[in-house]
């Protein structure tokens, strides 16, 4: 085969759903392209950075892969990526874009096809302005991505932040925070609570009968989560670079074939995995990986039709793309998102300024 890919992701335990979706999207694209010149080795990182480092070592030292991809979480990416790209391997990020790797720590072999972490938060801030919310209550877990998230929101939000609350990572009960939201009398509550935390919060928020509207980044309203939240999320606005109903030809085909292959609606993660594979395939058409410089140029060109429409790389090899506002609706008995409109167009991150590529 011409190209060997090491796919490492969280495939067991908590958070496995995201990794599984990325993998399924990725393999779907390869399958559709009939790419038998690409060999993929898949391994589980159990959501543990130490294990991921180990797996990466194995991919590089034993499997001698050319490209690594698959990681879901920022902290794992931070553990794996720097040393992998320093050893001359390519890394394509199908999810997670920590600021460190977009700014000073950017690298010529690191490509992000998803987003820089702040993108959705920034878009949410912009959306809050557009919607005319003059005061906001903002909340996130107390960890770096949470802190970055709120910073991102505040970067674009022009109204008043009445209260900024940090919850515990993995917290399950939000009664105290909900009481604070109710008492804050803000125009809007912005929250970033990925995974199960978001599910718990949304259910409890709906049950508490608070009438302050919510907005959030797409993570908390993803297809992996919505079925479990149900009508508690109905009508909530959220921001994402992709949506299943996004009106592009490539997307319609992708959603259909994903449904056919896996019998479920794809998530944002699946779409990103799909795009990561497409990026690789597009580069292979013009260059061989044995010529690293040429291959890098081919990647940079990003000559593929992204499921999210227009897509290109900024100088720091992170996306320049549109971020949309979506709304949660029930469609054909499935809770999902529909695009309401764009929030930010041709958006790229602020960290690129520190990157000297």
């Amino acid at each position: 085969s011409d190209l060997k890919v090491g796919f490492l992701s969280t495939l067991s335990g908590g958070g496995a759903g995201l990794g599984v979706d990325i993998r399924d999207g990725f393999l779907l694209a390869l399958g559709e392209a009939g790419a038998d010149d690409v060999e993929v080795v898949v391994e589980d990182t159990q959501r543990k950075p130490e294990v991921a480092v180990q797996v990466a070592d194995e991919f590089i030292q034993r499997e001698e892969v050319d490209v690594l991809t698959g990681i879901v979480f920022s902290n794992i990416a931070l553990a794996v990526v720097p040393s992998a790209v320093n050893q001359g391997k390519f890394y394509i990020s199908p999810n997670a874009g920590p600021s460190q790797l977009a700014g000073r720590g950017c690298h010529e072999n690191y490509f992000n096809v998803a987003w820089q972490n702040d993108a959705m938060h920034e878009a949410a801030g912009a959306h809050a302005n557009d919607a005319g919310y003059e005061s906001a209550f903002i909340m996130a877990p107390n960890y770096p991505a949470g802190q970055d998230g709120l910073t991102g929101f505040k970067r674009f939000y022009e109204g008043e932040v009445v209260s900024e609350v940090y919850t515990r990572l993995g917290q399950t009960d939000y009664a105290a925070e909900i009481a604070q939201i109710r008492a804050s009398d803000a125009d809007v509550a912005y929250f970033f609570l990925p995974g199960g935390m978001g599910i718990s919060f949304l259910k409890q928020y709906a049950d508490a009968g608070v009438d302050i509207p919510l907005i959030g980044p797409g993570f908390s309203f993803d297809q992996t989560i919505l079925p479990a939240v149900g009508d508690a999320a109905a009508g909530v606005r959220n921001t994402s670079e992709w949506s299943p109903d996004l009106d592009t030809a490539a997307n319609a085909a992708f959603v259909e074939s994903f449904r056919a292959a896996y019998d479920r609606t794809p998530s944002m993660y699946a779409a990103q995995g799909y795009d990561a594979a497409q990026l690789l395939l597009s580069a292979m058409e013009t260059a061989d990986v044995s010529d690293a410089d040429a291959f890098r140029e081919a990647l940079r060109a990003a000559e593929f039709e992204s499921v999210r429409g227009a897509f290109r790389f900024a100088a720091n090899q992170h996306p320049i793309q549109d971020i949309y506002v979506r709304e949660v609706v029930e469609r054909d008995g499935v809770w999902t998102n529909v695009v309401v409109g764009p929030s930010l167009q041709d958006h790229s991150d602020v960290y690129g300024a520190d990157c000297d590529l």
Binding site: I199, A228, A232
Partner: protein, 306 residues
Amino acid sequence: MTTILFIEQVLNGLQFGVMLFLMAAGLTLVFGVMGLINLAHGALYMVGAFAAASVAAATGSFLLGLIASLAAAAMAGAIVEIVVIRRLYRRDHLDQVLATFALILIFSEGTRWLFGSFPLYLDIPEALSGPVTLPGGIDYPLYRLFIIAVGLAVAGFLFWLIARTRLGIRIRAGEADREMIAALGVDISKLYTLVFALGAALAGMAGALVGAIQSVEVGMGEPVLILAFVTIIIGGIGSIKGAFVGALLVGLIDTLGRTLLPIAFGTVMEASAATTVGSALASMLIYILMAGVLIARPQGLFGAAA
């Protein structure tokens, strides 16, 4: 912070405490009565939640889901007891810890294999959803009041069972000396299976009840487990009363710490830093409480001295 908000937060703290107790009740029972440290309690909690979610989804009835959670968890508990735990009573805590640690892995991955990697949907029944207005003008979710009621009932039931019934006495006697209670004509194996299944059923029920306002997903039981341990350490070993008071204390301190500490820090430092530092400290508050209890009363607030 207004007085009314403060009162509401105290209420939230108590509510969280009762919920903690509900989640820990089965653990406390099995631990206090059988001296068995069951790390897989969280897994049984998860089993209950998944059973409830899938049955509720299939039948549309929360009640049927709740019953299913009891049944599924009790059955899982009984099987686990007969196949695994039974062989471990004579062994030290170490073996129990490991075997139940192994069970966590098996249950988690087994559930993921059966139900997939995505969270399931489980919602509050119609009749219990939405807020009610309490005296003083506090809007409070009815379902949470319901959970408080169930928690209190469970606490009362357990206390009665263990302290007042012949069954409870015999189980405790068996804990002290299994061989001797058998020599007095009590079939302790059967009793233990029963207790373990009961503990599991309580875990399952808690999983279903709490699952309706939380995320029903693989691994949902783990945070519960650690909190329950802290609760038991504070309250005292083998004491239902201790576990109950411990749970209330943990709930109260955690909730109030979470809301008050950032405010307190805000008076001395810049707002954004205050929230991060305050929240970080708040997340350790219950451990600090635990350390304090260990220093002052190593056997816990209500534990009998060794």
